[in-house]
């Protein structure tokens, strides 16, 4: 490996072949904090800055401490930076591009000179549990919240940022492997060879995992060689799809995994799932362990091997395992001066890497720890470490030696990347001997491979990958050959140091970098009585930051275990929930499907200036004319129906065909009224109750033949009614069929004294005269060549006809009727006018004038309930409730025409000022010369009685109770 740094792409840049991800032929310029730099294509922002010797990336959340590279894996909060329009972008994951302009965040002034940096000295005033306690006090909102928002915060949201395009797609695979390291690659290749369709998901821009950045042998090239072999083998498999830069952010039932790639969320369904996400290296705890220049050993190796960046000039390596010696060798190869390996164990490492390091003459201080990192001048980077002898677990000798260095690389242990495995139901336990977490009890079809399963040895990880793939392929029913061997020694021994925690009497020994929590804070939380891990988390906020405990969970578990006298296994970790890593709201919210339904006349309404409103998924005209003339338009539409003729689009009305020898019996069971003796070509009112006897739908039953009913249902209720009908008949096994034909029919209601005249202008085989076509009769025929069903009904209380035609003719029918009615002054009316018209007639609207308790008796519909039938849905409950009569009834009320108009849900008061009912509908009625409405009032209310309505502004309105039929109570107009 090359030893010299060159100036190509930054002062710390090494020569090729170091830096497998960067392209030295493609320089890229970018800026950070307003200053311009040059990096290389393939660089992350953090690596490009490191190459330019810029290490300060952010300020910590609470104390505004300087922070820099920690993991180089996009897993920590130290590297969160601000882009124009996007806060909290991990600088060690963000690929640089020409012209990129990034800024630090969470500071006052500049990143270098943060005027809130003084908070670092005031830690004692923000003790652990500060938020937990302050949130519970009334003063929080007024004082603390604005203060904290000013001081803390994670970047700035750009409210003017444009809207991106985000979408979603489904993918289906036999096997999904998450993690493209040695184990994952081996698993994917093996399964693909057994002809499984495999998807391999890798979070990073390139495959390889630790093969690309870790050191496996003294020579230092074994990982890279194997990486290239495995990638070539993967590329040769036609059944293997590789997705890089793709983040799997959760696990859901039956192996449904969301994968984010760019602006798209893939919803991936896997028959078999192998998790090979590796492990997360853990920091050690000592004073100032958060100083820029202190980083994980794997972070130093990532800088060297992935990006070709030398992470420091003079380095100290903190060793808790043999991996640390590989780090020392890599640093030495990169041209850094490795002053010492501070070995936490009593003896120096013994493997080939340790031997090679000692061969190179790197000093090993066995049985020592770093008790403090000392900042260089200016306080923003590591200047030296103070090394002391270890006297016992976590205890060090007060005496120390100082070693000058600008880099401290820590290799003391790992946690498995257990989040998805635990989300799937896996149980975490702790192996006290090996001092690491293990995962068991996984759901069927899900396996673990590689270091996620504590398999650290390279060949063992590959063998394990192959074995899990063999099991997956076998479960899929594929021919996968003989069962491959599982390695005995998985290389897990000695990887995790049991206690790399060295609490300092002056603190700043951070457990959680996101939340600035120190060893003492965790201990204090337990001392306060929060001795369960979930409680410690809530009290201290440990693990709640952007890195979600990835670097704090192990240390927290160890500290809580020690403080409570339990084992780490008993203490456990907090519940893992999706998402695994931060995801943007755009990805979650993008391309949400919101169906809209349009009637066949929709664009005619728009052309006529209709103001549209929604009714469920449908769009309906509320009224015609601009919003400015709302009241006038509605009043004119009402007037025109009463005096001339109006036309309303009722296509949204539900339509069901009930056909078969048992159709009448079925209608009798589903609805409250009687239908068996209903004559053919007559319609009859329909009222539906549920089993509790509550009114749930209404409509009209049109008997077109002895065994054929055409049933209307409410716009919002028809789908439910249809499903209920099928449900009941699945149990009853009656001989009939039900079909939902709602969308098949366009419908209009032509209403008003001149409606008959208009129809008679059009060619038809139907005689519309009063004698030939009386009220509540039906006809089938043609109107101007359009096949149609005609219903004489009276919802709005005038002579009127509902005409139902095939939807494709809907627009023609609408146009023809408006044309034909010109002389009569026909005009379309909307839902608002219809609501006034029906209210004048006292016709109820299900869902507006009824609620979840309404019985037919309460709304004056006792006449529509047959007592003679042996059964209908709701009968038993209606009878039962009649024995205990309701205390309320729906009554009409009137108020002066020009006074305040009560709103829906305004309450009625009794003499004692208690609630006695509520308003369900109200409107100003010209024809009644009053404001009219419907309200639930006490059962004994008589017409003429005074009702007190509490208006929205608190005023009390004195209304007169009345029968609910305000207009033409004798129905002479509609039946004429």
């Amino acid at each position: 490996m090359a030893k010299q740094a060159t100036a190509s792409g930054g002062a710390n840049r090494m020569t090729a072949p170091a830096g497998v991800w960067v392209d030295r032929d493609k320089p890229v310029s970018f800026s950070f904090e307003g200053k311009r730099y040059k990096g290389l294509a393939g660089d992350s922002l953090a690596s490009a800055l490191a190459a330019n010797d810029v290490w300060l990336l952010s300020r910590s959340f609470k104390y505004h401490r300087p922070r820099g590279v920690l993991t180089m894996a996009g897993q920590d909060a130290n590297t969160l930076i601000q882009l124009p329009g996007e806060p909290n972008v991990p600088a060690d994951r963000l690929a640089i591009r020409e012209g990129l302009a990034a800024w630090g965040q969470n500071y006052k002034g500049s990143l270098e000179k943060d005027r809130n940096g003084f908070l670092n000295c005031f830690g004692a005033f923000m003790p652990v549990g500060f938020y937990y306690r302050s949130f519970n006090k009334p003063r929080f909102d007024r004082y603390w919240e604005p203060t904290i928002r000013r001081m803390a915060g994670l970047g700035k949201i750009d409210l003017g940022a444009g809207q991106g395009y985000f979408d979603k797609a489904y993918l289906f695979y036999d096997l999904v492997v998450i993690g493209g390291g040695a184990a994952g690659l081996s698993a994917a290749i093996t399964a693909a060879k057994a002809s499984a369709e495999v998807l391999l998901i890798e979070e990073n821009p390139a495959l390889g995992g630790a093969l690309a950045y870790a050191r496996f042998d003294a020579e230092g090239m074994a990982g890279e060689r194997r990486r290239q072999e495995l990638i070539a083998a993967a590329e040769a498999e036609p059944n293997l799809t590789v997705m890089t830069d793709a983040l799997c952010n959760g696990w859901f039932a039956d192996h449904y995994v969301p994968v984010i790639k760019g602006d798209r969320l893939y919803k991936v369904r896997a028959k078999q799932l192998i998790l090979a996400q590796g492990s997360i290296e853990q920091p050690a705890q000592f004073r100032n362990n958060d100083l820029p220049g202190v980083m994980l050993g794997s972070a130093a190796q990532r800088l060297i091997r992935l990006y070709g960046v030398r992470p420091g000039k003079t380095a100290v390596v903190l060793a808790g395992n043999d991996h640390a010696y590989g780090v020392a060798l890599d640093l030495n190869d990169a041209g850094a001066d490795v002053s010492a390996i501070v070995e936490l164990r009593e003896d120096a490492g013994s493997g080939p890497l340790a031997a090679a390091a000692q061969d190179r003459g790197i000093a090993v201080m066995a049985g020592h720890c770093v008790q403090e990192a000392v900042p260089a001048r200016g306080g923003k980077h590591l200047g030296a470490v103070r090394v002391s002898r270890i006297d016992g677990p976590g205890i060090f000798d007060p005496g120390s030696v100082g070693i000058d260095c600008d880099l401290l690389a820590m290799s003391v242990g790992y946690t498995p990347t257990y989040q998805l495995a635990l989300q799937s139901g896996g149980k975490l336990s702790y192996d006290d001997r090996a001092a690491h977490f293990t995962i068991a009890q996984l759901p069927s079809g899900l396996q673990l491979a590689g270091s996620l399963n504590s398999t650290y040895d390279l060949s063992a990880a590959e063998a394990e990958g192959a074995h899990t793939a063999w099991r997956a392929a076998t479960a899929l029913g594929l021919e996968a050959g003989a069962e491959p061997a599982v390695p005995e020694d998985r290389g897990a021994a000695g990887v995790n140091h049991p206690w790399p925690i060295f609490q300092h009497r002056r603190g700043k020994d951070f457990v959680d970098f996101d939340e600035d929590l120190q060893v003492q804070d965790i201990q204090n939380a337990v001392a306060e009585g929060y001795n369960e891990l979930e409680l410690v988390k809530r009290f201290s906020t440990v693990g709640m930051g952007p890195s979600q405990g990835r670097h704090s969970a192990l240390a927290t578990a160890r500290l809580v275990a020690k403080a409570t006298g339990r084992t780490v296994a008993e203490t456990g970790v907090t519940t893992a929930r999706p998402p695994f890593s931060a995801e943007t709201l755009g990805v979650l919210g993008g391309r949400i499907f919101e169906p809209e339904r349009f009637t066949p006349m929709h664009h005619k309404h728009k052309a006529s200036g209709a103001v549209m409103m929604t009714a469920g998924l449908w769009w309906r005209p509320a009224y015609y004319g601009g919003k400015a003339k709302r009241e006038e338009s509605i009043a004119a539409e009402v007037r025109n129906v009463r005096n001339n003729v109006g036309l309303i689009d009722v296509s949204t009305l539900g339509g069901l065909e009930v056909r078969g020898p048992d159709a009448a019996e079925f209608m009798n069971r589903l609805y409250t009224f009687t239908y068996k003796k209903q004559p053919v070509n007559r319609s009859r009112y329909l009222l539906m109750t549920n089993e509790q006897g509550v009114v749930i739908d209404d409509g009209v039953a049109c008997r077109f033949d002895a065994d054929h009913y055409y049933v209307t249902a409410t716009t919002g209720g028809v789908d439910r009614v249809y499903r209920q009908m099928l449900w009941w008949n699945t149990q009853w096994c009656l001989d009939l069929d039900v079909a939902n034909v709602t969308a098949a029919y366009a419908g209009v209601n032509i209403a008003g004294p001149k409606s008959r005249q208009v129809l008679e202008r059009l060619e038809s085989d139907v005689d519309f005269s009063a004698e030939a076509f009386p009220y509540m009769r039906l006809r089938s025929g043609y109107l101007a060549g359009i096949p149609a069903r005609f219903l004489r009904v009276g919802f709005v209380g005038e002579l009127g006809y509902e005409i139902h035609v095939p939807a494709s003719y809907g627009e023609s029918l609408w146009t023809l009727l408006l044309e034909a009615g010109k002389a009569e002054g026909i005009r379309p009316f909307g839902v608002e006018a219809q609501r006034v018209l029906r209210l004048e007639k006292g016709h109820i609207i299900i869902g507006q004038d009824t609620d979840g308790m309404t019985t037919p008796d309460e709304v004056g519909m006792a006449w529509a309930v047959s007592a003679k039938k042996p059964f209908f849905v709701g009968k038993r409950s209606i009878e039962l409730r009649r024995r205990n009569p309701s205390k309320r009834q729906l009554v009409g009320f009137t108020l002066p025409l020009d006074g305040p108009l009560p709103l829906e849900s305004n309450i009625l008061l009794d003499d004692a000022g208690e609630m006695a009912g509520f308003v369900t509908s109200a409107a100003r009625s010209e024809v009644c010369d009053a404001a009219i409405g419907l309200a639930y009032a006490p059962a004994a209310t008589k017409p003429g009685e005074e009702l007190t309505i509490k208006y929205s502004d608190g005023r009390l309105l004195q209304a007169a109770a009345s029968a609910p039929h305000f207009y033409d109570p004798g129905n002479k107009r509609q039946e004429g």
Binding site: Y170, P595, R597, F598, L617, A743, A807
Partner: protein, 233 residues
């Protein structure tokens, strides 16, 4: 008396007009026959096309006796639900349940109207013989063509429609962009083709969803002419 000259409209007509469709009469309907020059449109149809076939005839039958009666009318009934069977006259029979069929008229010019079966049904005496369903009106009929059609539909639909997993003449009743619908694969010539039948009132909404999903595949609307030319390619 006004003249009887009714016009029927496709449920997606405003969208077709906005896309610049050229129309021709088909019965009482106007059907979109093309949008661009023939060569371009043919290329689009093979790459990724969306055609509105709503004006073409179709009908359904459902309920006890359906299959027996239709068999007696010499229809070839698919052997199992959610399978489709092409008929000798070019029609396609989709079996949606044990006793439910959806008949799509043939695409070729002059193909017979399966809706004529309703007249036969009216006068038939066999009992039971199912009940006719107005599928011409309840459902809009779109056709999606092209080699990436399955990838495009994977953005709207949670059923695995990849050609290797969803055989030709297979039917799925599912949700498309949250609208209930029926999907049937019927390759035309060498081109992968899916028929989509969905709530007619949602036609305009679904048309927009499909075009949006097609953007990344350079897909676009195609007319009946291109669709009719597909089987020969």
């Amino acid at each position: 008396m006004a003249a009887a000259n009714p016009v029927r409209r496709s449920f997606a007509l405003p969208k077709l007009e906005a896309a610049g469709a050229r129309f021709e009469a088909l019965g009482d309907f106007q059907i979109a026959v093309s949008y661009r020059n023939a060569a371009d449109e043919m290329a689009t149809a093979k790459r990724m096309g969306l055609a509105d076939l709503s004006p073409l005839p179709r009908v359904g039958f459902k309920g006890a006796g359906t299959c027996n009666w239709l068999q007696s009318r010499r229809l070839k009934i698919p052997e199992a639900p959610n399978r489709a069977a092409p008929q000798t006259d070019g029609a396609l029979a989709l079996r949606l349940a044990r006793e439910e069929l959806l008949l799509l008229g043939g695409l070729a010019e002059g193909a017979p109207d399966p809706g004529d079966l309703c007249n036969r049904w009216q006068v038939a005496r066999t009992k039971p013989r199912g009940y006719p369903l107005p599928r011409q009106e309840t459902h809009a009929w779109f056709l999606v063509s092209g080699e990436a059609a399955d990838s495009m539909l994977a953005k709207l639909c949670g059923v695995d429609l990849r050609p290797a997993k969803f055989a030709n003449l297979t039917v799925a009743q599912t949700s498309l962009a949250r609208v209930n619908g029926v999907i049937c694969r019927q390759d035309l010539g060498a081109t992968l083709v899916y028929h989509l039948l969905a709530d007619s009132a949602s036609a305009c909404y679904l048309w927009d969803c499909l075009l949006d999903a097609m953007t990344e595949f350079q897909g676009g609307p195609v007319g009946l002419t291109a669709v009719r030319a597909l089987p020969a390619t």
